[in-house]
């Protein structure tokens, strides 16, 4: 079995969630590398695009921001923010978009906080804010969220709802007037999680080799169903080779 790092495992776990033909919205960092890996391994017909308006960027080098000149080179279209978000709100293209997100806090319905910890008006810790995250979470067919698996990040109640998940349950989005999409999976440094078809509550789908479901629960601020979980398949030699040689050879993101 090949040696791999935790970051590589997380990246490949996310890449496997991307389907061929998806339009992949990504941010900076690990989400971009996951999108590049999927395109090179299992989803050759996927299209990577950025909220800044760059569509199908070649990405010869890893960009360090979604406005990086590296996302502008060898694209099919260099548009603007208005175009990019319209493609997600669009009734034909929006449902085909998968958004890859990250956040400071998540709750059991996949709602995300990337704005502030503590009182919004007197925050203990202030973060960057929504950026395009709220727009993506509002509009697109499905989202994948990267999280660090910690009790303070998997919380009963968010300090601030920046991006809508399933809101307060199965009818939450419909009641609020949101489009039909929503969170599909969460990938952490310990596990993969999905959302139950009926209740829209988070449940464990996979645990990483060497991690027990109990350890996963011990690091969360709420209970989830672990009965359906299986061990996550480690990255194959081929997946690792593509990831290392084609996606981030300088290891700017993978470390």
């Amino acid at each position: 079995m090949p040696d791999y790092t935790l970051k590589e495992l997380m990246t490949i776990a996310a890449a496997r969630e991307i389907r061929d033909g998806d339009i992949v919205f990504c941010g900076t960092g690990i989400s971009m590398v996951a999108a590049m890996a999927a395109k090179n391994i299992s989803a050759p017909n996927s299209v990577i695009f950025f909220e800044t308006g760059a569509i199908d960027s070649l990405l010869e080098e890893v960009p360090l921001a979604v406005s990086d000149s590296r996302v502008m080179f060898w694209t099919s279209v260099n548009g603007n923010l208005a175009d990019a978000f319209a493609a997600m709100q669009n009734r034909v293209t929006g449902p085909h978009v998968v958004g890859i997100m990250g956040a400071a806090q998540i709750d059991k319905y996949g709602n995300l906080n990337s704005t502030a910890i503590g009182d919004y008006f007197k925050p203990k810790v202030r973060f960057s804010g929504s950026g395009g995250a709220c727009d993506v979470a509002s509009f697109v067919g499905r989202t994948i969220t990267f999280m660090q698996h910690e009790k303070r990040k998997f919380v009963q109640k968010l300090d601030y709802i920046t991006s809508p998940g399933w809101l307060d349950g199965p009818d939450g989005r419909k009641k609020a007037g949101l489009p039909a999409g929503g969170p599909a999976s969460v990938i952490t440094n310990m596990a993969t999680m999905g959302f139950d078809e009926t209740t829209k509550e988070m449940y464990l789908t996979g645990f990483f080799p060497g991690i027990t479901p109990q350890k996963i629960l011990d690091n969360m601020g709420f209970e989830i169903d672990v009965s359906r979980a299986k061990e996550v398949e480690p990255p194959t030699e081929y997946e690792l080779q593509i990831l290392r040689e084609k996606c981030d050879p300088q290891r700017l993101i993978l470390g």
């Binding site: 900076t28 709802i161 700017l252």
Partner: protein
Amino acid sequence: MNISKDKSIRLKEAVGKYVADGCHMSIGGFTASRNPMAAVYEIIRQRIDNLHLYAHSNGQGVDELIGAGCVSRLEIAYAGTGRFAPTCVRFKKAVQKGEIAVEDYSNYQMTLRFLAGAMGVPFLPTRSSLGTDIIAKWGFSSEMRAADPRIPDQKLMVMDNPFGSWGDAPKLVLVPAINCDVTIIHAQKADREGTVRMEGLIFSDVEQAKSAKHVIVTCEELVEPDILKANPDQNQIPSFCVDAVVHVPHGAYPTACYRYYDYDPNYLNEYRRYAEDDRLYKTYLEDFIYGLKDHKALLDKVGRGRLEKIRADKRTGYAVGLDRR
């Protein structure tokens, strides 16, 4: 509106003329790209304060204006400079200490707000943010809104679709227009009449420019009008939207300008280290801004060697193989 055939002016004069204490201002660019940094530094040097600043995802420009104490109110979607500062450091400190009032929106909402201003309508609808705190929590109080006619009385409003089932969207979020006193953008090319050509991604710079009462454009190259007219499909902003054109090579430095230069990882990493320490930050302001006469002096201080390292490669538009750790 300035209909002069020659709007070229020096940066010091342009800022002095159009950027005043307490004015409502927006800056173009996105995180670590094409922020109008020369203008930002000039604003700081002129010690303009109490600005009401608008941006969608500005990193470096917003953070330096906040750090220097020029900003009292901010409407924004995202304050980060890519991997160099996932959350802008001086922004974070200022919000946590309650030194500035912030109101949060999403990127699409900010773009639509500028577009509404550019179109001359009071608001535009979207389906973004329904059910979230972006609607529920206002950064500015009702009293503050009532006291300033340049701030709408409501943050965002949710309404039932007035067309009923048409368009299959039962509820909509209305985002209020922005009409700033001044917008500043940095472009690759402009002519003295004010026609602007940006290259690569143009973000929301066009909407931002068209929504403002006055527009300052700084540019890498000030070219003859005929050069822009030869390929008019590549131009984005017509001359009548622009008040001042300023020729400032490396005017986006230390952020990137596609096809001209990359961001300077060295500067942005150093900046973060200064920004994290209040005492060190004072020396940064003194050594890199107040103590320098103009942007040229900053470039001289940084030195030709570093500018050479970030020079854009002709094929790709960025500095290939640049050490970005």
